[in-house]
Symmetry: C2
Subunit: 186 residues, 2 copies
Amino acid sequence: MPRHPTKADFPVANIRRYLEPGPVVLVTSAWRGKTNIMTMCWHTVMEFTPSLVGCVIAASNYSFELIRASRACVINLPTLALADAVVGIGNCCGREIDKFETFGLTAAPAVAVKAPLIAECHASFECRLADDALVEKYNFFIFEVVRAHVAPSPRHPRTIHYTGDGVFMVAGKTISRRAMFRPEYL
Amino acid sequence: MPRHPTKADFPVANIRRYLEPGPVVLVTSAWRGKTNIMTMCWHTVMEFTPSLVGCVIAASNYSFELIRASRACVINLPTLALADAVVGIGNCCGREIDKFETFGLTAAPAVAVKAPLIAECHASFECRLADDALVEKYNFFIFEVVRAHVAPSPRHPRTIHYTGDGVFMVAGKTISRRAMFRPEYL
């Protein structure tokens, strides 16, 4: 298991740096003494301020129940070192097992929500449900990120990105085109 | 400029292979003789069948007008070779210039919509607006992908993924965890 990276408070308006590239994330939830973790890939940034993230959480997931009842979750960012846990978590159900225990992950307390942070992850974003207008029809939740905890280094973690068929793309090198941007678009 | 990869019809239920990893895409639109291209990063797969994609298109974009009026667009997938065009397109406005001409891109006819395909892109997904319930409040469009055109090779193109600040992550190597998946989850 990887170490627990030390995290610092991070501006919630800037979390696009981590979510916009499209990584697989681990979503934690808690309700009446039960906690769960799910692997999630269908998410998008929706606004900087307030910091909004939209995502699909299928109604068949145990996490759907916990998140709908608690109206909160934590979006945690795993890196390549956690790939096996990410796959394992996505292929079992939290109604039957304690995923923290099964996958050797450490629950750490959040500040603003009851759902736990995953200490082994590179970053954790505490979320409150902001809009459930499309939950019935599409299982689509809009969350506001209210606190962000990020390991300052590395600046660009080796996240994993799902392509289906059991295959993940691993984040590669970065390139800058900063000089080509209008300053107001940066 | 890159070559024009030869594309084949691709099952719309499987386009998650290309969009779920979170790449920057180029969205084309057309309305009453005007066409445009925009760079877009805030998107998510929402369903396999029908093949739904949700995305944020800010109301200040010229493309917002064309897409809202035509209720259609094409989502095109550029690779690293098009990085400079992607940035250029994202930093100018289609009200003032013809982006196909300015960036040396080739418009090819779509099958089901009037918006053009970008011949230089690895894949193009023809979309019809499926639900505009959240357009007023969040500029969030839900599209149904009705036709998909994909270059068969390479299977995993070198897409680019925006992290903010003018910096892109380039898609790296792929890893398979297929053996760890429940068959029904593949």
